[in-house]
């Protein structure tokens, strides 16, 4: 990045399609701005979020990862968002251990009707990440994966 461009933190937001994704959509249609560099990945439930998804997002150039699920107690699949929260907390600890800041991974909870709240939390997160600055990681080609021999399954 050269000095003439303004640093815009790259944020990946894994959004549950039953709530946060709809909330982001509502924010958009209500013309409530949230950072354009926030890239939304729709997932069936935040319980589908794997720690690997979050870490690989950072490896692929994200400066912050947001996991946005339903309000606690209101998960479409009962407890997916609670599992997601535990995983995000685990990743945050891991980030501290590897020399990145735990604040770069955050879980938020919004209902489908809370478009303004989604935008508010997304903007707040973007400010946090902007204050932290880039991760310092360079984007590289993905690692080689040696699969199981043909015909073998895990």
């Amino acid at each position: 990045m050269d000095d003439t461009t303004t640093y815009e933190p790259q944020i990946i937001a894994f959004c549950c399609m039953h709530c946060a994704y709809a909330a982001a959509d509502l924010a958009g249609s209500s013309r409530i701005a949230y950072p354009p560099s926030l890239k939304i990945v729709a997932i069936p439930c935040t319980g589908r979020t794997d720690m690997g998804h979050i870490l690989k997002s950072f490896e692929d150039g994200a400066d912050g990862v947001l996991v946005a699920g339903c309000l606690e107690g209101r998960c479409h699949f009962q407890s997916g968002n609670l599992y997601a929260r535990q995983r995000v907390e685990h990743v945050a600890e891991l980030l501290d251990q590897i020399g990145m800041q735990s604040e770069r991974a955050r879980m938020i909870n919004v209902s489908a009707g809370q478009g303004a709240r989604f935008a508010e939390l997304a903007n707040e997160f973007a400010e946090t990440i902007a204050a932290l600055g880039p991760t310092g990681l360079k984007k590289k080609s993905p690692p080689r994966e040696i699969p199981l021999p043909e015909g073998k399954t895990e």
């Binding site: 690997g52 690989k56 891991l94 590897i98 690692p143």
Partner: protein, 230 residues
């Protein structure tokens, strides 16, 4: 199953110091189901190590592999042609997997990514407990299926010590049930208390961890050869 836990990232980084290219190999059996060294854990650990070493200014390229069972050479043979390009292998198998890799590839540096803890199983989601110490002379028939060698802190053979509280908890740790309290309750349920009153000879400990590594030879399963006098 064999239950293991991942080593702290700092410890693994110390082992990887000076290495440029490392292959992390997971195992799809015991350590996969206790979420310590399966494909998913290989991905997460490798990713964390790649980022951490890069941020330290000494990046290590970490590639990922998974085998179905790291403790048998037939399952790791296909890796032979690939290992030459790596400075080291980080095994996310149990201690048996690490040693099988090291025995099979003696010229490759094999490093352990896990601490192998015990033989046990899950007691609730996210909790594993030890259940067997492999003493080689199973006595579960006398104790209602509860192992006093594993579950009693003193490995007592003839009933509880004086350190059991009224709720049947061990004095060593109030979260630990007294094995002999549980054994008595179980035998009562089975209406077999009388069996606990029988005098038994001392346990044969020669089958346990006395003479170095233990071995089982099954002649019926060994590779057959043609007998000379045929």
């Amino acid at each position: 199953m064999i239950v293991a836990d991942q080593k702290p990232i700092e410890d693994i980084k110390k082992m990887l110091r000076g290495k440029k290219k490392v292959l992390a190999i997971g195992c799809g059996t015991c350590v996969a189901v206790c979420f310590a060294g399966g494909k998913r854990e290989v991905g997460v650990l490798s990713s964390a190590l790649r980022m951490s070493t890069e941020l330290d200014g000494e990046p290590v390229q970490i590639d990922e592999a998974i085998v179905q069972r790291q403790c048998e050479k037939e399952f790791i043979e296909h890796l032979g042609s690939q290992l030459g390009e790596y400075d080291a292998v980080l095994s996310l198998g149990c201690g048996v997997g690490v040693q099988t890799l090291a025995d099979h590839y003696p010229t490759t540096r094999i490093l352990p990514g896990l601490n192998t803890k015990f033989m046990g199983g899950p007691t609730e989601q996210g909790v594993w407990e030890e259940r067997c110490q492999g003493c080689g002379d199973c006595m579960l028939e006398y104790t209602g299926g509860i192992c006093p060698i594993t579950r009693c802190a003193k490995q007592l053979m003839n009933g509880p010590c004086g350190g059991t509280d009224e709720g049947g908890r061990c004095e060593v740790d109030p979260d630990t049930p007294c094995a002999w309290f549980d054994i008595w309750e179980r035998m009562e349920t089975l209406e077999l208390q009388d069996e606990l009153m029988q005098i038994r000879p001392p346990k044969d400990w020669s089958t346990s961890r006395d003479g170095g590594r233990r071995k089982i030879v099954r002649k019926d399963l060994q590779k057959p050869t043609i007998e000379d006098d045929n």
